[in-house]
């Protein structure tokens, strides 16, 4: 049977991970291109285009998908079975991402390679362990990121956690009417 072309929503999760690193790319933009002994080690224009693209494109893609899902009435209800709070994750985010990479020095080509490698590992870990903490697009609009796990009491429950974006301070046991950004990322609908 022919497989359908993968839908845009499939890429949201890695995009969301990449999108949460936007502040880091902005830091890299401010710090400027890596130089060793005063000479840039990468093409300068290419560096700025890449960093700006990495900071902006994931967020733009998510915004596009959000609009599309809203137009298609792509809705789902997420049942919050356990209270969830996003604050703990924020601390992990600051410690794991911003602090080490912000202070990373690019004194040599090897330092630069090491930083790129760390970045790839962090994106992988974010995807693998569902660590989605901050996304500028949503944060600026007042949304918080929650990782929600099902109750697991029913045999038909799925054990995989989903990401829910909500303007609430914390989530307690309730049904949240959401828009589906991807199979694992949902955003709470606002009252029409």
């Amino acid at each position: 049977m022919a497989r359908n072309a993968p839908s845009a929503s499939r890429f949201i999760r890695p995009l969301y991970a990449l999108g949460s690193l936007a502040p880091l790319f902005i830091v890299l933009l401010i710090k400027g291109e890596p130089r060793v002994e005063g000479k840039p080690i990468v093409p300068v224009l290419g560096y700025y285009i890449a960093v700006i693209a990495l900071a902006v494109l994931p967020i733009a893609a998510i915004a596009f998908r959000w609009r599309q899902a809203n137009a298609n009435h792509d809705h789902s209800v997420i049942r919050i079975a356990r209270p969830a709070d996003s604050k703990d994750h924020l601390l992990v985010y600051l410690l794991t991402v911003l602090t080490p990479l912000y202070s990373a020095s690019f004194g040599s080509v090897r330092d630069w390679y090491a930083s790129v490698f760390i970045l790839v590992v962090i994106v992988f870990l974010f995807c693998h362990f569902d660590l989605y903490h901050m996304n500028l697009l949503f944060a600026l609009r007042g949304y918080r990121t929650f990782v929600v796990q099902g109750h697991g009491d029913s045999p038909l429950d799925c054990r995989k956690p989903v990401i829910v974006l909500s303007k609430r301070t914390y989530l307690t046991e309730m049904d949240l009417h959401c828009v589906r950004l991807s199979n694992t990322v949902f955003i709470e609908r606002e009252e029409p």
Binding site: M1, R3, V77, R79, L156, E191
Partner: protein
């Protein structure tokens, strides 16, 4: 705020799993219509307490509490807090056993409707040509059809059963029915002390149809009024044979199902014919009143 979702139940290696599949607005309207049609059917139907051995005709349906062990799978789906969204599940439709729709509205209980997937996946193996851009083109994409109503429908804590087979197949009740029938025989035994249940045990262990009748007998509150004389004379008329051991009737091999149906008032000899009357079995029957004694 209202949210309408669609999903499928997949059985793979004996394990039942639920997946949500995103559906467009036209599909959501169709699902809402399916609920309206089923509600309409239930509203005009004669609603009875669910019996496993009963066949429900067009204008009848049954209801069962969601907490009933028979509705365990449905209750599981109703209570599920995190059903995985996975549209890819329709790439391989062979294992899809049922599809469901859910309507959730703020501050009201969720509505769940379920239907077996027989017609849903009927187009799966059939080649379909679509007419596009002046040419007939074979459409190889997976295709499904949605029926116009549900076979099972929840309303609050109640499950309405429009098709009993749907409940039995989706919830895979047969092994459970056979297993619980043994307890059922133990349970009904004191109500009919003159009947020895031993020969019925091996029968219900191997035949789901017999086990279903025991499940219904268990729910009957009138077994204690069965008179020994009436049972014996009716059995003689219908050719149900017994051995008498320790002053208890033990039904002979071959007569077990006849006896069970007789006890569940599903088997009778034509009362209008005195000599050699025909014997009938009733898959479906309902009480219309009481006879004058």
């Amino acid at each position: 705020m209202k949210t309408i979702t669609f999903g499928v139940l997949v059985k793979h290696q004996g394990e039942l799993k639920a997946f949500l599949v995103p559906i467009d607005q036209a599909g959501q309207s169709h699902i809402e219509q399916m609920f309206a049609t089923t509600h309409g059917k239930v509203a005009v139907a004669q609603v009875e307490d669910f019996q496993l051995a009963e066949t429900y005709s067009e204008n009848r349906c049954a209801k069962l509490g969601l907490a009933d062990p028979l509705a365990e799978t449905i209750k599981g789906l109703y209570d599920a807090t995190s059903v995985e969204v996975n549209p890819d599940v329709l790439e391989d439709m062979e294992h899809v056993v049922a599809y469901f729709g859910v309507i959730e509205e703020t501050n009201s209980p969720r509505n769940l409707g379920i239907r077996q997937a027989r017609t849903f996946k009927s187009l799966r193996t059939k080649p379909v040509w679509t007419f596009a851009e002046g040419q007939l083109t074979e459409d190889k994409r997976p295709k499904v059809t949605l029926s116009d109503s549900w076979e099972l429908l929840t309303e609050g804590e109640e499950l309405f059963i429009v098709s009993a087979t749907a409940l039995e197949r989706i919830c895979d009740l047969a092994p459970a029915i056979r297993k619980s029938a043994l307890d059922g025989l133990e349970e009904i035994s004191p109500s009919i002390p003159f009947l020895n249940m031993e020969p019925l045990k091996s029968r219900v262990e191997s035949y789901t149809r017999s086990a279903r009748i025991v499940a219904d007998l268990r729910k009957r509150g009138d077994l204690a009024v069965v008179s020994e004389g009436a049972l014996k004379s009716e059995s003689d008329k219908q050719g149900i044979e017994y051995e008498i051991i320790d002053s208890q009737y033990m039904v002979k091999v071959g007569s077990e199902e006849g006896l069970l149906m007789l006890l569940d008032r599903r088997r009778y000899a034509d009362p209008l014919v005195a000599v050699n009357p025909d014997i009938y079995e009733a898959d479906s029957r309902h009480k219309v009143g009481k006879a004058k004694s």
